[in-house]
Amino acid sequence: MIEIAGLTKRYDDFIAVDELDLKIPDGQFTIILGPSGSGKTTVLRMLNRMVTPTSGTVKIGGVDVSTEKVEDLRRRMGYVIQNTGLFPNMSVLRNVGTVPRLLGWERKKTSVRAEEMLELVGLDPTVYGAKMPSQLSGGEAQRVGVARALAADPPILLMDEPFGAVDPITRERLQIEMKRLHHQLKKTVVFVTHDIDEAVLLSDKIALLKGGVLQQYASPEVLWKQPANQFVSDFFGSDFGLRIMIRHRLGQLDLLPIAGDSAGLPRLDASATLKEALAELVDKRAHAVVVIRDGAEAGTVTFETLMCELGREV
């Protein structure tokens, strides 16, 4: 549990973060979202003391982080930044093994671990291990950045716009990988972004900031249905519902029995999102989509079923 209480950062007259209170349970994927200049990076950097708060406290597992030796604190938190921050003078494998080395792991264990981490993020260590960062594409470099952050198995992962500098297609692939990794490793992730779709896709909860002040801290569904103020609803815009459809999958829905001839209807796997189903309905001008589960037709969904799912109590 990360407990942030009264956290404030002031630069002369400018208040970057104002009296922030936030409780982040273990294993939660938390997005800090806001327009530029809203203080989101400052919040993240106060967690690992890259920025010293003017006042307020950060406690992790009940321990005030300001009482710890700063290097020890940081080695227990993975850190991923936008421009990867890979060390250009070290091979990929050496980059990934940095924190284990700092922690004094023995050489063999470090390199074995580094290879495992590369595999975890989908890079073949025999192909990529010996490469230098300058030989990687943007997406590959960012994967290495994530592998490096995870190498010492830190319980917390801090990510500062990690996918902000890669092209849209690579970004989407990295986001999906990130979701899978979070599911698999159950790390507490604090992730800064200004990209609403990224926030909606990845988050358990979003903390929306404006001018250093927390506007609302809730799941995307709650932000959509019960926005705390006008800024929240304006920020997410009128297509927020449409964006939220990527969070829900057809497999979760109560399917309708197949009535009559389904041959002409579009078909989607149960793992498809509601957004894909909606797109399919519109594209084929169909009244229903057949849902396939384990290769067999499991039922159908209609526009009404989709709306019913979105309308569910949050």
């Binding site: 290097e71 940081r74 080695r75 930044i81 421009n83 990867t84 921050g85 060390f87 250009p88 950045g145």
Partner: protein, 253 residues
């Protein structure tokens, strides 16, 4: 850049080094051969090899001056550069760079002239002058090199829990190394030529036959000192130009 082109560049690089080294060794250790060459280059002279001190000893004296002064300059320059970048020394960064600039504007000959009455003739005043002159390129390149390290790499180094010292040793210095090496190279090349002035302080070296050549209007003596000095400077320059540097630059494009 293609693999062949890189291979060719490497081959040219190392061939140049081998040729320069062979030419230098031949001049220094084959007096009869070098004598023949000097007779061709300065046909009017009767005596072409400086008779007082043999070339191997002059070369040794020259190297002694250059190596001692350069080692001291690297030591002092690195320390001052790192001091200027440390938390304590940061306010003095500009002062240190200005001092380095100032030291380089004072002519070497003037420093030697001032130092001789204080500490006498010999190698010492020359080394002091060379060191003073050499500190700037080192300090400057240490500061510029380290300040030029990608901010993202520094941020990551700090963020993943490196102490300032670990960050300096495993990230900042390695990344600044090519720039610092450039400063060392400049300094060495300058020192090889500047050390010839050491002859006026009786420090020996390749300047001695040059000085004698001027005094007796003997062109051959001048060439006997100047040619090995020039080849030595070229050789050091080539040796400290990493063939890998061009390769790295090619990959980044």
């Amino acid at each position: 850049m293609s693999v062949q082109r890189i291979w060719l560049k490497d081959a040219v690089h190392w061939t140049t080094i081998a040729a320069l080294a062979a030419f230098l060794l031949w001049m220094v250790f084959s007096p009869s051969g070098f004598e023949t060459l000097l007779r061709v280059l300065a046909p009017g002279e009767e005596v072409v090899l400086y008779p007082t001190v043999a070339l191997p000893e002059l070369m040794f004296q020259q190297l002694y001056l250059v190596v001692t002064a350069s080692a001291l300059a690297i030591l002092i320059g690195m320390s001052l550069g790192l001091l200027a970048l440390s938390r304590v020394g940061r306010p003095f960064r500009d002062v240190i760079m200005n001092l380095g600039n100032l030291a380089q504007t004072v002519p070497t000959a003037a420093v030697i002239a001032v130092a001789i009455p204080a500490i006498g003739y010999g190698a010492k005043p020359v080394i002091i002058a060379l060191v003073l002159y050499s500190i700037l390129p080192i300090v400057l390149n240490v500061i510029v090199g380290i300040e030029g390290v990608q901010p993202a790499a520094l941020d990551a180094a700090t963020g993943i829990g490196m102490s300032p010292r670990q960050r300096l040793l495993s990230v900042e210095l390695p990344l600044a190394f090519p720039v610092i090496l450039g400063g060392v190279k400049n300094m060495l090349v300058i020192n090889v030529s500047a050390a010839t002035i050491g002859a006026i302080a009786a420090a020996g070296g390749l300047g001695q036959p040059i000085l004698a050549g001027f005094a007796t209007y003997n062109t051959a003596f001048i060439i006997e000192g100047a040619l090995p000095a020039a080849v030595l400077a070229l050789l050091l320059d080539r040796l400290l130009t990493l063939p890998g540097q061009t390769r790295l630059a090619a990959e980044e494009v």
